[in-house]
Symmetry: C2
Subunit: 373 residues, 2 copies
Amino acid sequence: MIVQERFFTFTKDEIPFTTESGYIFDEITVAYETYGKLNKNGDNAILVLHALSGDHHAAGLYSPIDKKPGWWDPLIGPGKPLDSNKYYIICSNVLGGCRGTTGPSSINPKTGKPYAADFPVINIRDMVRLQKILLAYLGVKRLVLVIGGSMGGMQALEWAVTYPDFVDSAVVIAATERLSPLAIAYNYVAIKAITGDLNWNNGNYYNNKKSPDIGLSLARMVGTITYKSDMLFKKRFGRNRTNDGSMFQVESYLNYHGVSFLKRFDANSYLYLLQAMNLHDISTPYGSLNRAIERIRARLLLVGIETDLLYFPKDLKEFVQRVNSLGGNAKYSEISTLQGHDSFLIDFDKLGPIIKGFLEVDYVEYQKNVSTM
Amino acid sequence: MIVQERFFTFTKDEIPFTTESGYIFDEITVAYETYGKLNKNGDNAILVLHALSGDHHAAGLYSPIDKKPGWWDPLIGPGKPLDSNKYYIICSNVLGGCRGTTGPSSINPKTGKPYAADFPVINIRDMVRLQKILLAYLGVKRLVLVIGGSMGGMQALEWAVTYPDFVDSAVVIAATERLSPLAIAYNYVAIKAITGDLNWNNGNYYNNKKSPDIGLSLARMVGTITYKSDMLFKKRFGRNRTNDGSMFQVESYLNYHGVSFLKRFDANSYLYLLQAMNLHDISTPYGSLNRAIERIRARLLLVGIETDLLYFPKDLKEFVQRVNSLGGNAKYSEISTLQGHDSFLIDFDKLGPIIKGFLEVDYVEYQKNVSTM
């Protein structure tokens, strides 16, 4: 499947967009991709939401010689679990990102310089509200499904809360209704690693010779550990050394992830997205978690990952029970894996059938029940 | 109980001490404390081993107006689980430490300057071999018990392997026979945080205006998370903010631990001790884990902590099974707690009876069995 990166730009005169923190953007660009065709009613759409370090290139190749398909390619395309023959599938880079959508590294039209630390505080709801504007532009009238893992899962659930009448169903993988203090703690170390790097310079490093590479790679290393699992590390690395004997293999692995991240991510973006995750709580605008949940009309599927060090399956299960005890329609499914949190980016053979089952089989059941009610 | 800090210094002419990495110290000082009296046979001694950031001040107060007792004070003293009326209890600062025993911040007699990065690579066995020298100096002929948690637990187990005929029993709390790749990974982030701090200056910061405070506090923050638990953070902090609203409470907590650590720990010491932990593997000198285990003649008790994010109870249980399958005498006990890894420094009401039971009740049983064999 050959796909194309697209951009949608609008000014505040065309569409006013204010963050929850009260900032009005003069202009916003959204980078996105679509797979499949929108039907005439505009109601065969699926929105795919990426995680912290992901982007809008969810599936396909950019050219016949491109060798690196999008990050969810095994799940998206003709005949795949998210079937582009049937559905119109959209994925966009989040607000605050650094892969094409307006973020801290973008030029601020007010100053002609990168936003840097002048970028406003954003949260997960801001990301979702910007996605809604993109969908309107694309002519989408209704979503069959919103789906994502980790930060993408937070957005999926937020979609079901913020726009209850727009969403048929939501799949929330390895994410919770609000970030746990343990995850906030890990994020805090990452934030301090970046802001403690002298080259961060209060966010103003875009025109400097040095950028906060050490801080960003440390932040990524902390993240990488929490995205994996003890069992995976034991199986893959054990206590083995690198060929030259200078390091443990697990150290070399972390180092590689820390350093290679520098090529594809902006430190300020990372800070703003971590903050957005920390602030994430679906209940905030409604005063209580139950009131937020009571807004949801979509069918929900929460997918926990057995070995997740960051978003514990028990927390997802508790949320499902709470939704159902409030009269909602939530299911729980668990992936048995050594991969840890990152399973949703790896275990496609396990995740595919879960998604397909929920999207199609369950939907038929659901329609039957609704029609006989 | 009023106690006194003591120092034992020896030169290489008096007692040659070579690290496993092949370095010969011209002179070594060991800081230590003792509680209770050694009997005439020299065989009523207990060796207490401290963890990464601990020291030799395990119990008592330094004066009647001292308000901060030693770190295991509820467990050590007259009538306490480690009863100083009955036993002669010793605790010393580890080799490589920064609380009185020779370490990277000590003056190298060869140069008249701090060792810094010239300090040799050390491991857990080196610590244990130095403790053996201290015990000989103190007249100890045999240990009733070696006991410690985390890095202290590694030393306790190493004692049972290195000196099988000197140790009656060992209590190994929240530690394993070798460091897991997950723990190595966390330690790697800490190591990179310190060595990535420009003020670390390849370890030469002792006479500089700035020391690697940001790196060391980051390292301590990563550690602090892994010493606690998800449930503890949920219960204690949840998503609550600090009074001024500027931070999550869990962030403020981590920050406090990171910053306050700077007052009491040396960055180079931290690096050397992390490396010693990473290198820890009781099997190294013997070629296989089974051969190392087969050396052990002490009764073993491994104490797992239910919520430990770093040393999983399942790993301790597996080790106990392996010891027993090889004809050894190992028991397992688990502390049910929200405290995580740090439980052994907090849950004295739970740990006390476990230690007392193993030390006294089990010992009587053991003696009976031995005498009827």
